[in-house]
Subunit: 284 residues, 4 copies
């Protein structure tokens, strides 16, 4: 199990022989499949698959796998990604003033719960700088105003490129990203402090309190240009009662936000998520 | 514990001495309190209390309790209700075509999970008549159209009066009640097949599927004139995944709807719910 | 999606090429795979797979599929089962005196939640006879004593054979089955009213109350000769508090038992469960 | 609401007039009750109550409240505690090598989720010393062997006295405390990494895996002389599947352990827990 693995994430129009063709490609080259899962969305006529195999004993050199598989994928009209388990992704965590998600992610990264490096924290405030320093991570303070937003996003993209960042995690980053930013850099996971689509937008805990709900939630999703409308990765909930004030909802919500965001990041890092339309398939 | 009990549900502006005054009233008359719970909503400046005591050994005759307590309640500007545990409430269940909530409620009533009688089922269709017959319950078929709605609601109210109904349970009744009906008869519990306020309105399971949520829910609430906006009594949720079709959501949702509605009805029958503003206090 | 399907459940020693060989078998014969899921238990060196494909357009006649697949399975040392979705399994429900699981299963069968027929109820008491009659199902009253247990189990097996029963569901059947019975008829699902292995054996709700737990559970499992030790299929839990008496635990537990048992039966009927050692793989 | 409060936790044989007598005591002295909750265990004949009132406007000086209430409590044969909300409790956290619960508790203390001070970490290993230093908390390394256990417990008690510790939290402290220690210092909360009473004792995750459970849990409880048998304060659970290895159970369990332990500590610090027999009443 300690062999590095390759993982293919594939989606294509449904047709006969897909599993056989993909499995044959791996078997013919000496690969041992350790995980394979598929899903067919019949209404969309779409086949989606995740397949992972050990690289030890696999006959194709790594740089040949992509071109070799492309020859199979093209006639299937497949969209696909190839990942190697020993290529460690690089995460930038973006925050505003709240520390609970940031600390939680950094602790998990340090504890090896995530196979990822976090070289970078970006914030529109200076509040959490000391946490980044404590974990010996670079901290960029990029204040955002309506006047400088475009320039600051350009600077943010520059930093992401410079640090070769694969994934941005908005860990309570209280700014909206522009459509342009997301077009350039689509791998952005956000944690929203409500059970979406309930209480999309601002102040979800206050609104949950006002509505008198008996359960609150948190939602991790990919960012799209439509605020709080992106594909949902993970959600979880906790009970509340009339005894809980808004302050209590916020406190209980923090525990949810931490764990829901961490699960989503982990699923992404393990290449278990396929997005189609505004939905996710999570091969958990 | 087999003694019948009296239960007071009280709300009034918060002030010193409320617990003492109410507890003294019961103690001075020889009552043994078996349950007392209170809540103070500081932002509303409101005190809410449920207090239950044994009638065995209580010195006041039942018909004197209300006038005697009124003398205490009036200077406190309290709104209050008095209930006796051996006065069995009478429920009318309203349905359309789906049977799962109806069967579940009838089974619970028959199994003595509810201290209530169900003499009556009303439906806008004939589909579930045989179930009412099997349980030897009267079944009224009152079809609703845009033309006859006002007359049919008048007929429904007439039936509720005739059968001395205390509580209407909308067990998948797919018609909206008018503001006028609710003004006349406010004790109506509904089960909505979503985690309100998400997916208020029609087709919540289809919309939950389209949004790609990872958890679905059900909500029991009191009916108000604003559709799906009434005070929430109880909610619960269940996980779904990309493998679940809309049909699966509907099936999983049925199990939620049954149990959430049953819990809400039970809490109401035990006089554990106080409504204020658009919120409930549930002394569970 | 309305085509009937075939489902293979396979387990064999892990080795390269398994997915390819099995998928090729289906593809070579014109089958369209609609669901495939696999699991490798590395510590046991075991590969387990569920694969389902449409029979429409599949070139092999049904009675040839087994011998044809056997030729592939044998060199892999595979243990396997083949099921057709339009072969409706037949269930015998066994009960004692409690009706909640029985009614729930019969309601689900009638509502087409289960693709199964229930021709038969067996009980060691006469209490629930009228329910069987109401659903027009045969009811066998077979009282059990220490003297007659062996003969009654022989009679039970005779009935199962006569009615061509595929699955026995112990829906609160309060008798232990002998090792001999289980050897003859191993497809038996039981619902245990605790979160196993906590409170295995008798009176779990009383013991849960005495221990002061804050959560109770229910467990559906296959029966083995060791009481309450069989492979677990499904579990679920519900919160309790100091306010809940043993009677409340029993009431809350009933809702759990119903839904946990129903989920387990459904998973079994959909051929989603593989047992190995004392564990289950549930391809949900 | 910013007024400091006093909280009484009371248990006594059930009898008439208890609520009235206690509420009168507070009202007669000018107190405003902001929270009152009670429970009667009829089988034990025991009345238990938590009552909290504002000290602003209360006529009795703090040091007179106890003797004044004693005069009321004595004839009731009541056992009781009095706490002031602005007396900040002092916690010692004990750990071995795992950091997740320690970090979580320290973060919550620093974020003011807990109204408590943590001046002290004790460990039988040196592993987590740097965490204590980072939070500027004293760290005591007291290795335990079968030979030195008695002396080290004496030293531990000495430290607790010296630092005026009110509560010991075993945050993954992998040593058993002796009966003698617990007699001297009974306020000890432990987190056990299973859903007690399932998998009491060592290696619960491995045993949960071996048993093939579908849900794992964590349990916070007060320590007694009987290992893992003390009164349960809080439990929670999370789903697992056949895909989860023992390592996954441990990882998922960490998230449970953190939140379950934190909830239990918070409930204790808010004086919401009454212990009787081997049970807790949690006035949440």
């Amino acid at each position: 199990m300690n062999s590095p693995t390759a993982t293919l994430l594939i989606s294509c129009p449904d047709q006969k022989g897909l599993v056989a063709k993909i499995a044959n490609f791996i078997y013919a080259n000496g690969g041992n499949i350790i995980h394979a899962d598929q899903h067919t969305d019949f209404s969309a006529g779409l086949f989606l698959m995740r397949i992972e195999w050990q690289l030890d004993g696999f006959n194709l050199p790594r740089d040949v796998i992509s071109p070799a598989f492309a020859a199979i994928a093209k006639p299937l009209q497949a969209v696909w990604q190839l990942h190697f388990s020993d290529t460690i992704p690089r995460i930038a965590i973006w925050v505003t003033k709240q520390d609970h998600c940031l600390l939680d992610l950094l602790w998990r990264a340090k504890s090896r719960e995530f196979a990822a490096e976090v070289p970078l924290v970006i914030s529109n405030h200076n509040t959490l700088k000391s946490i980044a320093e404590q974990f010996e991570i670079n901290f960029f303070h990029l204040p955002i105003s309506s006047e400088n937003k475009i320039q600051q996003e350009a600077r943010q993209l520059e930093i992401l490129r410079e640090y070769k960042i694969d994934l941005v995690v908005l860990a309570k980053y209280m700014q909206v990203l522009t459509r342009e930013f997301i077009n350039y850099f689509p791998n952005v996971i956000n944690i929203h402090h409500s059970f979406l689509p309930a209480f999309a937008g601002a102040n979800p805990y206050q609104r949950a309190y006002d509505r008198g709900v008996k359960i609150i939630g948190a939602t991790a999703h990919y960012i799209t240009a439509d605020l709080d409308e992106g594909p949902i990765i993970e959600q979880d909930v906790v009970r509340v009662s009339h005894r809980d004030t808004v302050t209590d909802l916020i406190r209980k919500g923090k525990d949810l936000e931490r764990v829901v965001l961490a699960r989503a990041v982990r699923l992404h890092l393990q290449n278990r998520i396929l997005v189609y339309g505004n939905r996710t398939v999570v091969f958990a």
